[in-house]
Amino acid sequence: MDAPSDRTNPGHGQPAPASAPRPQRGRSVLVAFGIGVGIMAAIDEIVFHQILGWHHFYDRSTPQIGLLSDGLLHTAEIVVIVAALFALGDLRRRRALAPMSAWGGFFLGLGAFQLFDGIVDHKLLRVHQIRYGVDDLLAYDLAWNTAGAVLLLIGAALVWRARADSTRSSASHNR
């Protein structure tokens, strides 16, 4: 069964369809992706900024544009994670959540943020580095970005498997 495209206009008071609720895979992936991005951002801020103190609230080498983009990214994260959590709640109450797709989206979000932070923030904008006062920053960068890529691959695999599963089940259903 595919994600439904018949978006009924709310507010018309149409009777609910009698069929079983259909999971919305695409939307599940998207919503969980937002949560993944937010969780990874929170991990970055809490573990690396505050507990380990590897990089800081502000470092004096940060250029203005990096400061501005950092602020935008940071506030967007907060709004995205809140929006995604409410959207997840909405999917659940409509029983339209596809769990495996959602897990896939979650890992995609974790990996995407990790890679974005590692490449754009650390290297292109140079908002901050992973750790200061170490000899080979390259090792840290490699570890950071490899971890991001692995998370991204796990997410992609889960999303792909959820899709394959539902195609198979709908094929057997049609037979």
Binding site: P4, G11, Q24, R60, D70, T75, A76, V79, V82, A83
Partner: protein, 310 residues
């Protein structure tokens, strides 16, 4: 520590200050509770959480203008930041969530109700209460205060200090209302617009906080460490306020999205628009006043029908 706030004398002024604090909490709270009671007498319910929100809002305002807070503000920029966080962000959130305009519309005599509705429908108000305008007034005010000599003036001039505080309270209320107000708001922008403005305003606030941190030492009367501590407080306080505002915004979306059928309530822009336009129409014509409790019961029943038919 050299003090510049010679305008705040202690002693008698303190007693007057605490009296003001008591009035700030009591007068609006009593008026609100009386309005709620008259509504109850008329047989319509009103959430206790809203009443609590209203009282908490004025307690926060009172805390921000109390003599104790003034003493803290005299000791350095941290006190000022706390004052601005309370007045410009946290008190407005509590006040706006208390839906004072809805209550006002419900208890006003019919003749006055028309005037208030006309006011709510006026183009000037819509321009002023658009999230973008409100954000500029609110965060723009902060930029004006911190990047011009205005801040130095407020530390010596009591009138300027109070005008700035009043500005932050009012601008904060308008901004919060435009983002997450449960009150009737004809032609209110979509949730996407409001969320984007919230992100932009939050980013502008965070940027200013880091800029002030980077530019420390700021005003000559305060040491750089104090300014940095104040800037960090501003940054994290702004985060907390943004988080609370985002929760309020999306909670409204969540509660108002109908749950009739598995694909209904899809928040894509087309349905959101159509649905909102219908709502606005109802508010503008004034056929029916909104009531949160009524809508919630209708939602609950629609959920029940979905469950039973599925």
């Amino acid at each position: 520590m050299p003090l510049t706030h010679d305008v705040h004398a202690s002693g008698d002024a303190d007693i007057a200050g605490w009296l003001l604090v008591a009035l700030v909490v009591l007068v609006p709270s009593i008026a609100y509770c009386r309005a709620v009671r008259s509504r109850r007498v008329a047989g319509r319910n009103w959430s206790r959480l809203r009443t609590a929100g209203f009282v908490i809002g004025f307690v926060l305002v009172a805390a921000a203008v109390s003599p104790a807070m003034h003493a803290l503000a005299r000791r350095g920029p941290r006190g000022h930041v706390i004052q601005h966080l309370l007045l410009g962000m946290f008190a407005p959130l509590a006040l706006v969530l208390a839906a004072p305009i809805t209550l006002l519309l419900a208890v006003l005599p019919v003749a006055c109700r028309g005037t208030v509705r006309r006011l709510l429908r006026s183009r000037v108000l819509h321009g002023l209460a658009h999230p973008a305008t409100a954000a500029v007034l609110d965060v723009g005010g902060l930029y004006l205060l911190h990047l011009t000599p205005l801040y130095a003036i407020t530390t010596t001039n009591a009138l300027a200090h109070h005008v700035v505080n009043l500005h932050f309270l009012l601008a904060g209320c308008v901004f919060t209302w435009s983002i997450a107000g449960p009150d009737p708001a004809p032609r209110r922008p979509t949730i996407t617009t409001r969320a984007l403005v919230l992100v932009a305003a939050g980013a502008a606030h965070a940027y200013l906080a880091k800029l002030l941190y980077a530019r420390a030492p700021g005003p000559p009367s305060h040491g750089p460490d104090q300014v940095r501590a104040a800037a960090q407080l501003m940054y994290y306080g702004g985060d907390l306020a943004e988080l609370a505002l985002a929760v309020a915004l999306f909670a409204i979306w969540y509660r108002r999205t109908p749950v009739s059928g598995d694909a209904a309530g899809y928040p894509d822009s087309a349905t959101e628009w159509a649905w909102r336009r219908r709502r606005c129409g109802r508010w503008c014509t004034g056929v029916r006043t909104r009531s949160g409790s009524r809508r919630r019961t209708s939602h609950a029943s629609s959920i029940r029908t979905t469950r039973s038919s599925a």
